[in-house]
Each structure stands twice: as C-alpha cells, then as structure tokens.
C-alpha cells in the first residue's frame, strides 16, 4: 500500500488537489448564488416555503441521476462535474441562508434602517453578519456533500479522486484494486476533514465575537 502511494505520489497529489479545487470552487460559486437567492427570497415571506420545498426536492434527486440528466447537455468531462457539484452545493446553503436571514431580529433591522442605513447597508452590515454563522453551517454541510458528489461525477470523467475508486472497481481481482479504492476513499475523507477544519477556522475569524457561541 505504501509503495503504491509513493510510486504514484505526484499523480495522487495532483488528483487530490483537483478534487479539492473542484469542490472549493463549486462551493464558493454556490455560496454566492445561494446567498443572493436567499436575500431575494426573504424579501417575500410567501416564497420561503416554496424555496425550502424546492431545495428539499432538489436534494432528493440522486446525484447519479442528475449526472445522467446533465450528460446530454454538458457532455462527458469536467463541465458536467462542475455543474452537478454546484447544483447540490447551492441547496443546503440556500436553506440555511433563508433560515439565518429570517432569524435576524426584526427590531435590529428596523433600528438599522431607523438610523439611516440604506437597505443594502443594513443587509451588508447587520443582516448578513448576524446570519453568517448559520450560513457557514450550511457551507460546511454543502462541502462535505460535494466531496461525495464529485467522486460520483468521476464516472463521467470528472476530475479528482473518484477516478481511483472507479479504477479500483474495474480492476477488482487485480493486485491494485484495493489500493486504488482505498486511496480514492481515504483521500476524499482526508480532504473533507481538512476543508472542514479550515471552514471552522474561517468561522472563528469571520463570526463576530459578540454572537459566537
């Protein structure tokens, strides 16, 4: 096992980075999309139930099925992987962002408007900072989930560690089957944990001390 890793260390490192890269970029884009959507949704309270229902429906669709639906549109390769991962990444963040923004005390929003902040300033300086811990929790869920989705997207030749798992599958009975599968799986777990720790640190840095639990 050790020899296997050392022999292929360059390639493994590359794929690990690719995997992390795919997930991080997709989650970043997803965060922006989700927060913007959440801000729009929370302006119309009636939409919130609809948004949550849609996100629940979206999360119900198996990722392998989404890959299948996307394939005719985006063809085999990285694009499919990016679209699929981003799609799932949006949903948990969206849900949490709606809950978080909704949870901000209305009195605080009113008082910020009352002291002359524009709606945008109130959003940027009051609502988002207060909702941020909840949004960040959504980002963490989203990231962990995306790690798995990205692995599945490797079936249509998406980048990252999923390819090793499929290689292990296809070589079952061969000498390196287990090595490939373990490297793929454990690799994903390791980046998932590292990124999660980074997100926790991000939380320490970006969540106001006044509302930290």
């Amino acid at each position: 096992m050790w020899d296997f890793i050392v022999e292929r260390r360059g390639q493994i490192a590359y794929n690990t980075l690719q995997h992390a890269n795919l997930v991080i970029q997709a989650v970043l884009v997803a965060t922006v999309i989700a927060v913007v959507l959440a801000v729009l949704i929370t302006r119309a309270p009636r939409l919130q139930g609809v948004a949550n229902a849609l996100s629940a429906i979206g999360l119900t669709i198996p990722s392998f099925a989404l890959v299948g639906i996307l394939l005719p549109l985006t063809s085999i390769g990285t694009v499919t992987a990016v679209v699929a991962v981003t799609f799932y990444a949006v949903l948990p963040i969206l849900r949490n962002a709606v809950v978080g923004l909704q949870g901000v005390d209305q009195i605080l929003v009113e008082s910020s408007r009352g002291m002359g902040m524009s709606e945008l300033a109130s959003l940027w300086r009051v609502r988002l900072p207060l909702a941020w811990p909840v949004i960040l929790a959504g980002v963490r869920t989203s990231t962990q989930m995306s790690m798995g989705v990205a692995a599945i997207a490797a079936y249509v030749l998406g980048p990252g560690l999923g390819g090793y798992i499929f290689k292990g599958l296809s070589q079952i009975g061969g000498a390196n089957a287990i090595n490939y599968a373990v490297v793929g799986t454990v690799g994903v777990i390791v980046i998932a944990l590292i990124v999660d720790v980074l997100l926790l640190l991000l939380g320490r840095l970006t969540v106001s001390k006044g509302i930290r639990v």
């Binding site: 309270p45 919130q48 139930g49 609809v50 949550n52 229902a53 629940a56 429906i57 999360l59 119900t60 669709i61 198996p62 990722s63 392998f64 099925a65 989404l66 890959v67 299948g68 639906i69 394939l71 005719p72 799932y88 949903l91 948990p92 849900r95 949490n96 809950v99 909704q102 949870g103 909840v134 929790a137 959504g138 869920t141 989203s142 962990q144 989930m145 790690m147 798995g148 989705v149 692995a151 599945i152 079936y155 249509v156 999923g162 798992i165 499929f166 292990g168 599958l169 079952i172 089957a177 287990i178 599968a181 373990v182 793929g184 799986t185 994903v188 777990i189 998932a192 944990l193 999660d196």
Partner: protein, 271 residues
C-alpha cells in the same frame, strides 16, 4: 442526494417545551413547507411518470434501448431498488434507535459525543468509496449493497435519536420517575414518544440518503434503477440516461414523500 437538515430545523421539532412566541412565524413557514412537500411531489411524480409512459410508448427506440426499458425489466429494477431501500432503512432503524437510546443512558452517555464524532467522520466518506471497498472485501451483490447503505444511513437516525431524547424536558423524565414509573416505562411511554418527531425526521433523511445511494448499487451488481443509468452512460445513449435518471428521481421523490407521511402519522397527538 444527501441530507442537509440544518440543526435549527430538527430543534424546532423537539416538542417538550412550548415554543417561544418569537418562533411562531417560523413554525408557520415550516408548516407551509410541509404542506407543499406533501402535495407537490406526488403530483409532480404522477405528471412526470405520465409523461414518461407517453414517451416510452411513442418513442422510436432501438433494440438495446427496448431491452433495457421493457416494462417487466423496469418493474423488476424498481422492485430491487425499493427492496434495497427498505431493507437498509429497516436495518438502520433497528440499529440506530437502540444505539441512540443506549448512548443517552447512564454511564454510556459520556460515549455519545465520541460515537457521533466517529459517525460524522464516517459520513465524510464518499458513498461510492464505501460501496466499492465493501464489494472488494465481501464480494458483489445485494447484501453487500445493503450493508453499505445501512452504514451510510445510520448517522442521521442515530444523531436524531440522541438529539431527540436529549431534547426531552428532564423535568418530565423526573416527573415520570417521581410518580413511580420504572425507568423502562419512562423510556417507552414518555421519552421515546416525545422524541418520535425528531427521530422520524432522521428516518426520512436516512430514507432519502439510502434511496439515492442505492442508485450506485448497480456498480456492484446490487440491482436497482442505477442499471438503466449505467447502461445508458456506458453505451452513451441519451434516451437510457434520461429515462434512468427520471425513474430514479421519481422513486426518490416518492420515498421522501412517504417519509413525510410517516413523520406525520407517527407524530404523537398533543404535540
């Protein structure tokens, strides 16, 4: 494909204490979501399935496609998929609920953060990797798939069982003990009934998780609707890809709906 209930949601389901007035709006919103999720998915499923049937009867399909999409084949695959889902989910409940109960009793209580932590890390494992590794170890087939799905579905139910039981107002437990109920009576007649809404939310999450992941069972000859998808992708037939994806998605929506109904039916009156 995966669960994502933020903690805030399951917390509001803990029914032991009356909800503070401020959250009444949130409850109303959740009710709206629940209502939508009870009505929309079945309607959607029926409409889309009708569309599928129409397409299936009129489309110009070649031999391979016809073979894959034969009604008898499709029904067998759906049955396999449902069987994978329900057997695994039943195992999940049978393991996770007693384990959750145990981890909230007496001296085992201290272990619960540890167990949940380990389960959390386990959840970070990609479902695909778990399935493939188990297949390498135990061989292909239905039961290996069931084992993988069971492991994968454990966490939400375990976590919610613990959260749900911990969320029961301790004064109610003491009240039960104080009026002379044995600890078993308090568990079965007070704690578990009060934790049921939270546990069932976990069960629904697990159902969704399992039905989605069961799509991957095809890779280890575990059966299920993933077969159509896999064939479609490997032969690069759009009709098969879409058909397989649509069928899997419909089944998943139906199962999630079933979970919601189950949640509603098991909710004790008075909460």
């Amino acid at each position: 494909m995966t669960d994502t209930l933020p903690a805030t949601r399951s917390d509001s389901d803990v029914g032991a204490t009356p909800a503070p007035t401020g959250s009444s709006r949130r409850i109303a919103r959740l009710d709206r979501e629940t209502t939508l999720m009870l009505i929309v998915p079945p309607v959607l499923v029926l409409l889309v399935f009708a569309g599928y049937v129409l397409w299936r009867q009129t489309a110009d399909l070649d031999g391979t496609e016809l073979r894959q999409l034969r009604w008898s084949t499709v029904i067998t695959l759906i049955w396999e998929h449902v069987r994978l889902t329900f057997v695994s989910s039943a195992l999940v409940v049978a393991i996770a609920v007693p384990l959750g109960v145990l981890l909230t009793r007496g001296r085992f209580r201290r272990l619960s953060p540890l167990v949940v932590g380990v389960a959390n890390i386990g959840q970070a494992a990609p479902s695909l990797g778990l399935i493939v590794l188990l297949a390498i170890w135990l061989g292909f087939g239905f039961w290996t798939a069931v084992l993988a799905l069971t492991l994968y579905g454990l966490l939400p139910v375990l976590r919610n069982t613990i959260t749900g039981l911990q969320g029961v107002d301790p004064t109610l437990v003491e009240a039960g003990r104080g009026i002379g109920m044995s600890s078993a009576a308090v568990l079965f007649r007070v704690e578990l009934p009060l934790a049921v809404p939270v546990i069932m939310a976990g069960v629904r999450t697990a159902l969704v998780l399992v039905v989605g992941t069961a799509t991957l069972a095809t890779f280890i000859n575990g059966g299920g609707l993933g077969d159509i998808l896999q064939t479609g992708i490997s032969l690069f037939r759009f009709s098969l890809m879409i058909a397989g994806a649509v069928l899997v998605a419909l089944l998943a929506l139906l199962i999630e709906w079933l979970g919601r109904v189950l949640e509603l039916l098991t909710r004790p009156k008075g909460l």
